[in-house]
């Protein structure tokens, strides 16, 4: 779960990390009023969760009320990479001389947290990571101890942060780690962490991703979630249903249980010449209702021409799946898209007995099921 910039900034500020003054606005008048209150220059920043906001015109620096009005008017309501902008953060501009990068994330290879510092912060940090990885100093943290103060200092000095601000940067990094740790962060980043002309350190951006699996113990952040979601309607619906769902640009709808098996189904659709319309994992142990919801999801996607339903039961039981498929399809006068079903594993025989074969095509193997679905899609497409 990714927090919006304004939410992350609030979380950081509450923890004592210096941030510029800022106000959230959802209309032009409020944005201009906020700018006047803060004092120029200010930055007007689209609050949408897409990369490259700045380059796409979602951030503008303004020097007076007229410019503020013009910028707010341009940004509010714009579409940034398909996402509608309905709020802006109006933020005091920082007179900076350096842009640093600090971040904390989980290094899954090492199985431990890692804190990172670079003196080459700013928009190109991904390129820096790619081209000159040594420019980002990494300090691994033993999660049983947490971050020792010396580790924050070491990372900061090793990165070559200037000595007169090194203590402040180390302190920000230490706070960022504590936040990441306390709030079950997946990533926490400040890029850029600006050094001002009067040698102060200010977080000019704020990124905070929360581990979805830990939201149960982060009630305050979990409440932010709805607000932070947004984007594709079907993906929002999937969130509601609690599915792992990714929309793709093909026409073969895919439903299965278990990420690896669903990915494999996608791969086979591709292998047999089809194009996957989505990834949809109903998870383990799904009951009939969940199966019905999954079909509803895939039918709602107008790009879908054909559906393959591939279940290999472990905790998921074939009879439950068959019942769900029946329920989903028996409501229709006409089945909207042809559905191929393949059931294997736990209770697959019971499932086959229950399944209404007037409504679906049944195949015994994964390969056959996928090939049939691809063929169905080609037929519809013609």
């Amino acid at each position: 779960m990714k927090l919006h910039e304004y939410q992350a900034k609030q979380v950081f500020a509450d923890a004592g990390i210096p941030t510029p003054p800022s106000t959230l606005a959802d209309n032009v008048d409020d944005a201009v009023a906020a700018a006047e209150e803060i004092g120029y220059p200010v930055a007007i920043k689209a609050q949408v969760q897409v990369g490259g906001r700045g380059k796409a015109g979602g951030i503008k620096l303004v020097d007076d009320a007229d410019e503020a009005r013009e910028a707010a008017d341009a940004i509010l309501g714009m579409d940034l990479k398909g996402i509608h902008v309905d709020r802006v953060l109006v933020e005091g501009a920082v007179d900076f001389v350096n842009e640093l990068y600090v971040g904390v994330t989980m290094d899954r290879g090492e199985g431990k947290p890692v804190a990172m510092v670079s003196t080459r912060g700013g928009v190109n940090i991904e390129e820096v990571a790619e081209e000159d990885p040594d420019a980002i100093v990494r300090e691994h943290i033993d999660p049983s101890f947490g971050m020792h103060p010396y580790q924050a200092r070491r990372a900061v000095y090793e990165a070559g942060v200037e000595r007169d601000v090194a203590n402040d940067v180390a302190s920000v990094l230490q706070t960022l780690y504590t936040l990441w740790d306390d709030r079950d962060g997946a990533d926490a980043e400040i890029n850029p962490l600006m050094v001002t002309s009067d040698r102060e350190v200010v977080a000019a951006d704020a990124v905070m991703n929360i581990d979805e699996d830990a939201l149960f113990r982060q009630p305050e952040l979990a409440e932010m979630e709805e607000d932070a979601a947004g984007g594709d309607d079907l993906e929002a619906k999937a969130d509601e249903y609690g599915f792992d769902y990714v929309r793709l640009d093909g026409n073969v709808g895919i439903i299965g249980n278990g990420a690896g098996l669903v990915m494999t189904t996608l791969d086979l659709v591709d292998h047999y010449g089809g194009k996957p319309a989505n990834f949809l994992d109903i998870g383990g142990g799904a009951k009939a209702e969940r199966v019905t919801n999954a079909l509803d999801m895939v039918f709602s996607d107008e790009n879908v021409d054909s559906v393959v339903f591939n279940i290999f039961g472990g905790i998921t039981r074939g009879d439950e799946v068959a019942r769900g498929i029946n329920e989903a399809l028996e409501g229709f006068d006409e089945i909207p898209k042809p559905v191929v079903v393949r059931l294997a594993g736990t209770n697959w025989e019971e499932g086959m007995e229950i399944l209404n074969e007037d409504l679906v095509t049944v195949e015994k193997t994964l390969e056959d099921a996928v090939q049939r679905a691809v063929a169905n899609a080609e037929e519809v497409d013609q």
Partner: protein, 289 residues
Amino acid sequence: MSVLVDDDTRVVVQGITGGEGKFHAGQMIEYGTNVVAGAVPGKGGQEVNGVPVYDTVDQAAREEDADASVVFVPPAFAADAIFEALDSPVDLAVAITEGIPTQDMARVNKRLSEVDTRLIGPNCPGIITPGEAKLGILPGNIFESGNVGLVSRSGTLTYQVVSNLTERGIGQTTAIGIGGDPIIGTDFVDALRLFEDDPDTDAIVMCGEIGGEDEEEAATFIDDYVDTPVAGFIAGRTAPPGKRMGHAGAIVSGSGTGTAQSKIDALNDAGVPVGDTPEEVADHIESFL
């Protein structure tokens, strides 16, 4: 005939009084697994599926001389249950629970470096030695005893590949579902080492997926140490970069590592053929035997 578990393995089920724990303990027993005890705080003295329940894993393992534990405990309490298993007399813990916070697992991972106990999972289907013992939720009927070792990051994909093998009459020594989470106990390299050292395992299937670099590391390990022939499968070839597919293991970083292609290339370079379909994986294994 197997690695890690067999019909001598004496199993404690943590969370045996919960819905999943009770059901799967029953399934495990039905399969023939030697389930000797349950462990649930406050439920000591009860009996479930015919086995005695203790309040702590320590008591269960001590009283019933257990040497393995399976964890069916809800995610909020699962890390603590794993810590408890690691600090008890059992020498194998299998964590089935899905959705354990990653930071909890980082702490577990630290603890693992301090103890001799092995962890499989979490977020995994478990481990099975066909005909002898299953610890977890794998559907026992698709497995058959034989001479192929299988290790996989994905649960249902494991079942798929196993069924492709079993249908051809190719049985398994042991199948290990290592789990798809970012931080897991036993990884590919650990499992490959076990199979390489098992005289009864004549071929190995390794099912990976996009995300992380475990398959790449496994490829290097195979190249250096594994003589047993290995066939691979990698799920997620068509996954678009940067999209999250199902579990956290399946995030493709933009940097060229962690993609299906980089994994396939690494395995091929180590002499491991990678099937395009599960059937092709079975073809490769058949050719080894």
